[in-house]
């Protein structure tokens, strides 16, 4: 275990397309990113996805997505009817079943469009799905039937999957614009949330709030949980902004290449400086910099007290950021790290497999381009293998007194009274739980975007530092949200 810069790890890690070399070094990586799994949540909200395959495909993915994706704020349930292919269907084919399900789904749900997602068994026996879709299109009320061949055995590097989905959906759904909407932008790369009011404030709603204050309207929020209309009107925007670059960049590139729509370079606006840069980038495009500077000033004033108090408490300290929390998320780790650096901290990211850093190419490249090149614990992790923060502290010979903050899930590393192991006692470290499980934090945005998110994070840091000073036994309440 050693510390390397993000850029260095990116440079020395084999390409995710390297096949056997990657499989040996990072076993489990390819199986994690099943094409079907990453396609299912991106089907437009007013459409329905028929999964042509066994129920197990849907069950497993709904479980995974429900656990790790939906518990942010958004849709907590991905409904996907299936043809429920079984062994008999694998032998005889299930074309007739597919036709029946298409008819049923069309009558029951009256979806705008029907998507057919093809999983492994149907793909292996080469079910004539395209022929069925073509034939059934005239027989249903849905506008279109679109086939997406997303068999899991064709799994690919995680960094490429969004390119695949983004381009596929873009090809199918984007249209030539009939008009341009002045002063309008799209927010690209939003996932794991719904762009409508719920019990919690969404990232996209926070960004929309800020943009509206500048007189800019949000045309479309793409692409998870978008509607068909969100897609078809997307080309009418003047400018594309980005949140998650991994998802946004392929789409932004396509829209620039095909319709000349310019896009920004700022991403994941967590923290005061990143959200300021994000707003100013949009403002520069619309030539309203002065107005934007006023907005930034006004918004910062709102959170200034907490932000500066947090900075006072953690400035110069190390922040340990658990990147595998709860699943490897390069973008999330980088965004949290950049926010902590904004507070004067030295971010150290761990539990980030090098292959993931390489594969999530846009996250990595965008961070480096922006000049944020944090230290990352380098190790040939088996995919999803995790180290405890205590082991990181010991192996890197860090002084626990220098650790100002720990961002990650405390559950796997909390002190165990009976066995006294693992020994990491979260009561002694200020910590903020960043997992999707515990991120439903009233008063904050989903992933702490914007000034609202920054302000809430600052308040959490202040609370966490004070709580750690108590050196008390952590309670369930204390574990959640850093309170």
């Amino acid at each position: 275990m050693e510390l390397k810069r993000l850029s260095e790890i990116y440079a020395i890690t084999p390409d995710p397309e390297a096949g056997a070399e990657c499989d040996q070094k990072y076993p489990g990586y390819y199986t994690h990113w099943c094409r079907f799994m990453v396609t299912l949540p991106h089907i437009p909200l007013d459409c329905i996805a028929i999964v042509h395959g066994p129920q197990g495909c849907v069950g497993n993915q709904k479980d995974f997505l429900g656990t790790y994706w939906c518990q942010y704020h958004g849709s907590s349930f991905f409904y996907a009817p299936t043809t429920n292919m079984d062994q008999t269907d694998a032998i005889l084919g299930a074309e007739d079943k597919l036709r029946t399900v298409i008819k049923e789904v069309d009558e029951l749900y009256k979806p705008r469009m029907i998507f057919i997602l093809v999983t492994c068994p149907a793909g292996i026996i080469q079910e004539p799905v395209d022929d069925v879709a073509r034939d059934m299109e005239d027989k249903v009320q849905a506008e279109r039937i679109i086939v997406i061949k997303c068999e899991g055995y064709t799994s690919y590097a995680a960094g490429l999957y969004n390119i695949y989905e983004g381009r596929l959906l873009a090809n199918e759904l984007l249209q030539n614009p009939e008009k341009k909407i002045p002063r309008s932008v799209n927010i690209l790369g939003i996932s794991k949330e719904t762009h409508y009011p719920s019990d919690y404030l969404e990232d996209s709603l926070e960004l929309e709030r800020l943009l509206n204050k500048l007189g800019i309207t949000v045309n479309s929020v793409l692409y998870q949980t978008a509607t068909v209309d969100s897609w078809t009107r997307a080309t009418e925007a003047e400018f594309n902004t980005m949140v998650c670059p991994q998802r946004a960049m392929p789409l932004a590139t396509d829209m620039f290449d095909r319709w000349g729509i310019p896009h920004g370079q700022r991403f994941n606006p967590l923290g005061v400086t990143p959200i300021t840069n994000w707003i100013m980038e949009v403002a520069e495009f619309f030539e309203i910099e002065e107005q934007a500077e006023e907005l930034v000033k006004e918004e910062y004033t709102r959170i200034k007290e907490d932000w500066e108090e947090a900075r006072r408490l953690v400035d110069g300290k190390i922040v340990l950021i658990d990147g595998g929390d709860p699943m490897t998320a390069v973008g999330r780790g980088i965004a949290w790290g950049r926010m902590c650096a904004d507070l004067g901290m030295r971010p150290i990211l761990f539990n980030l497999p090098p292959i993931e850093i390489k594969a999530k190419i846009h996250h990595t490249i965008f961070a480096i381009q922006e000049g944020f090149d944090p230290e990352v614990v380098y190790h040939d992790y088996a995919y999803h293998r995790r180290f405890s923060p205590m082991r990181v502290i010991e192996e890197l010979d860090l002084n626990p007194e220098d650790i100002g903050l720990y961002m990650g899930d405390v559950y796997p590393t909390a002190v165990a009274k009976e066995w006294q192991a693992p020994v990491f006692d979260p009561a002694n470290f200020p910590r903020i739980v960043t997992t999707s499980h515990c991120n439903k934090n009233r008063g904050s945005t989903g992933r702490r975007s914007g000034f609202t998110g920054a302000g809430r994070t600052a308040r959490d840091i202040i609370n966490a530092v004070h709580m750690a000073e108590r050196k008390s036994v952590p309670t369930l309440y204390g574990r959640i949200g850093g309170l």
């Binding site: 062994q87 008999t88 269907d89 694998a90 032998i91 005889l92 292996i124 079910e127 004539p128």
Partner: protein, 288 residues
């Protein structure tokens, strides 16, 4: 009671596996054996001459009921000439599903319900599509249904190439520990010049004996027109004697061989050598 012998007849599509298998079954039944012939080819014509017509298949029953119970299996087992039992695995509709998996599923289902014991079969003959084009069609070998395999060939070069492909599957599976061996080659002659010599040379090349040369005969076609085996339609014919002799050899055979794999060039060279010896350079066929 378990069958005394389980025999698998492999060969390229259209080579005459079903004709050979049915006549062997018929001949064995006359030798006192209780034979069950299992057609493992989506073409589903394996037991047609034993039963007088094309019969409903296992997979048609699957299509109808989705889950096949033991009673359903009884409905697709037919009694043919001289008490020979016949069953056709069948296959999905052309262009759909996976026939290889279907054949294997059918064999597993027969096994699961102890059908061979239930019907008192002493000899079981699997008539298997030999175009081992994917893992599915090699599954009967892998699953142990083809421990004693006979390969039907003729003197045509492409048939020998295809037989060689089957042998490759045998060798590869044997190396992985599967109990499989080739017991002999059956030359179902097509009238190719020097056919016996070519097939004998092929047998030597791969190290497996040719156990019978079945001459081409009109009576085979005439019997099939009547929906019968030669044994049934022309019991006194020379052709029937050939099938009886072959059946006897199979019944008495105790040897199995792991073949040597030949390259396509080896096979081509053997054929050229035979034809050159017989015809001279001027008429050497060019197979490329």
């Amino acid at each position: 009671m378990h069958p005394r012998r389980i025999v698998a007849i492999y060969g390229k599509a259209g080579i005459g596996k079903s004709t050979v298998s049915s006549n062997i079954s018929a001949a064995l039944s006359q030798m006192g054996e209780q034979v069950m012939q299992v057609g493992c080819d989506p073409k589903r014509d394996s037991i047609a001459t034993l039963c007088g017509e094309l019969k409903p298949t296992f997979m048609e029953k699957m299509q109808e009921k989705r889950k096949v119970a033991e009673a359903d299996i009884d409905e697709v087992i037919f009694t043919g000439f001289n008490g020979v039992y016949g069953i056709e695995c069948g296959g999905p509709k052309p262009g759909r599903g996976c026939a290889g998996k279907g054949v294997n599923w059918a064999l597993e289902t027969l096994d699961k319900h102890n059908i061979f014991d239930k019907y008192g079969a002493t000899v079981v003959i699997f008539d298997v599509l030999g175009d081992v084009v994917c893992g599915g069609f090699s599954q009967p070998i892998r699953s142990g249904y083809a421990k004693e395999m006979y390969i039907v060939v003729c003197g045509e070069v492409l048939t020998l190439f295809q037989a060689n492909n089957i042998l490759k599957a045998v060798v590869r599976l044997h190396e992985t520990g599967v109990d499989v061996g080739v017991a002999g080659i059956i030359n179902n002659m097509r009238g190719v010049e020097h056919e016996q010599e070519i097939v004998e040379a092929f047998g030597k090349l791969i190290g497996v004996p040719v156990i019978e040369h079945i001459p081409r005969s009109k009576v085979v076609q005439e019997a099939e027109f009547d929906g019968k085996t030669v044994i049934e339609a022309f019991p006194g014919s020379e052709q029937a004697d050939v099938y009886r002799r072959l059946a006897r050899k199979i019944l008495e055979n105790k040897d199995r061989y792991i073949p040597r794999i030949a390259s396509l060039e080896d096979i081509e060279r053997v054929i050229i050598q035979v034809t050159e010896t017989e015809l001279g350079d001027a008429t050497t066929p060019h197979y490329r």
